[in-house]
């Protein structure tokens, strides 16, 4: 089955992509770039990195922009999916949705209306088990945004590894954050994945942080042989 993967550049969408590659054929990544920083559906601090990730994976990219108004961005998503159907013949969509009924409901409805399959391989997965598998299977994901107490500025740009996962687990137990960041507590960017043919190297970046909110923005990056 030919599938398109909705890709924000973060760990969940790219892990879901990896699962889809294991089971089916991924024909393209689909990216919706929102100009609205408050977008419920699509905003991530480094969505501009998705084209480089697609190149690293050797997978074509279908990308559209949206102003990010709440319901209009859904029609922009449907437009992106239709482009992927027309351009790559996809029969279904894959998302990295973990717990968000809001996102899942809307994407499932779009797929129903377009007569497409919809797969969410991380849906209600055990969060700790998933994070462990992400690390152990060779994903290199860094934290590119923090939006909650008790994250301080040292988290910006930090790799998700066993040590940081142990600290995230403490935060989860003490402060109630979701371990995966599904509640919007943090955002991630994937620099390498088992299915990437090349890895991403960051040459220039900038970070801003104030009152438990901060963003790590990649300004320049390139691909490097693995």
């Amino acid at each position: 089955m030919l599938l398109g993967v909705l890709c924000s550049g973060g760990k969940d969408s790219l892990y879901a992509c990896g699962r889809a590659i294991e089971e089916e054929e991924v024909a393209c990544l689909i990216s919706v770039r929102s100009r609205n920083e408050e977008s419920y559906m699509f905003h991530t601090p480094n969505v501009h990195m998705v084209p480089l990730q697609a190149e690293a994976a050797g997978i074509p990219l279908v990308s559209v922009e949206t102003e990010g108004k709440e319901e209009a961005e859904l029609s922009d998503l449907a437009r992106a999916i239709r482009l992927a159907v027309d351009g790559h013949g996809i029969e279904g969509i894959v998302t990295g949705a973990l717990l968000s009924v809001y996102q899942s409901t809307r994407i499932q409805r779009i797929c129903r209306d377009l007569d497409l399959w919809c797969f969410n391989p991380l849906w209600h997965a055990d969060q700790e088990r998933y994070m462990g598998r992400l690390i152990d299977s060779g994903f290199h994901a860094i934290i590119t945004g923090v939006f909650s107490a008790p994250f301080d500025a040292t988290w910006l740009g930090r790799r998700i590894d066993r040590k940081s996962l142990a600290e995230l687990k403490q935060f989860s137990e003490k402060y109630g954050i979701t371990l995966t960041g599904e509640g919007g507590e943090y955002e991630t960017l994937v620099l390498d994945a088992p299915f990437f043919k090349k890895r991403i190297v960051i040459d220039e970046s900038g970070a801003g942080y104030c009152n438990f909110r901060g963003i790590f923005r990649v300004r320049n990056a390139r691909l490097e042989a693995k």
Binding site: V101, R109, C111, W117, C118, P121, L122, H124, A125
Partner: protein, 188 residues
């Protein structure tokens, strides 16, 4: 031991991640062991040593299981408690001569309890996550436990511990699965 039956289009395919594994997590959380079986390998040989069967849901477009009713005929004779979730309720409905027809709901939906039952919340109504493209008219004699504005949402067999729910209890209604597991534990 609970038998989790995968109704997805292929053994260990993407629907297993989404519809079987979350149920397995609830079963594990209740301290009960489980075994996985795709419906293509489901038969009465599976039943010894099993205290309950959960027929899990599958993707919205995945209706291939309905083309193989012969796979599920052992349910006609089994004394083991059964919970059919969404696609699983459609299987129960088909096996026991109910009607499965077009009917879609997606997203959080208000469910009204018509008849209180240990597997349902102890309230007049509750919110539940729906993801189905087919709906059921219950088999003759089965008891309707709950409905939405559009469709029957929960049913039970008049004499056996067989239950069907059209909503997905693994999303925000885990207690429905836990209630079923409680029935499995009590069954001699």
């Amino acid at each position: 031991m609970i038998l989790l039956v995968d109704l997805g289009y292929r053994p260990d395919s993407l629907p297993r991640d989404e519809f079987v594994n979350p149920v397995a997590r609830i079963v594990e959380g209740a301290g009960i062991s489980w075994r996985y079986r795709h419906y293509s390998g489901f038969n009465k040989e599976e039943l010894p040593g099993i205290c309950g069967i959960i027929l899990c849901g599958t993707a919205l477009k995945d209706n291939g299981f309905l083309e193989h009713p012969e796979r599920f005929t052992c349910l006609l004779e089994s004394p083991v408690p059964v919970l059919g979730i969404c696609a699983g309720m459609q299987v129960l409905c088909q096996v026991f001569d109910g009607v499965v027809q077009e009917g879609s709901e997606i997203g959080m939906t208000n469910i009204r309890v018509c008849r209180p039952d240990p597997i349902l919340p102890d309230r007049d109504s509750f919110q539940a996550y729906e993801l189905h493209s087919r709906a059921c008219d219950p088999p003759p004699g089965w008891i309707t436990l709950a409905v939405s504005d559009a469709y029957v949402q929960a049913v039970r067999h008049p004499g056996r511990p067989y239950f069907g729910v059209m909503f997905h209890p693994e999303v925000r209604n885990e207690h429905v699965v836990e209630g079923f597991l409680g029935i499995c534990r009590k069954k001699p």
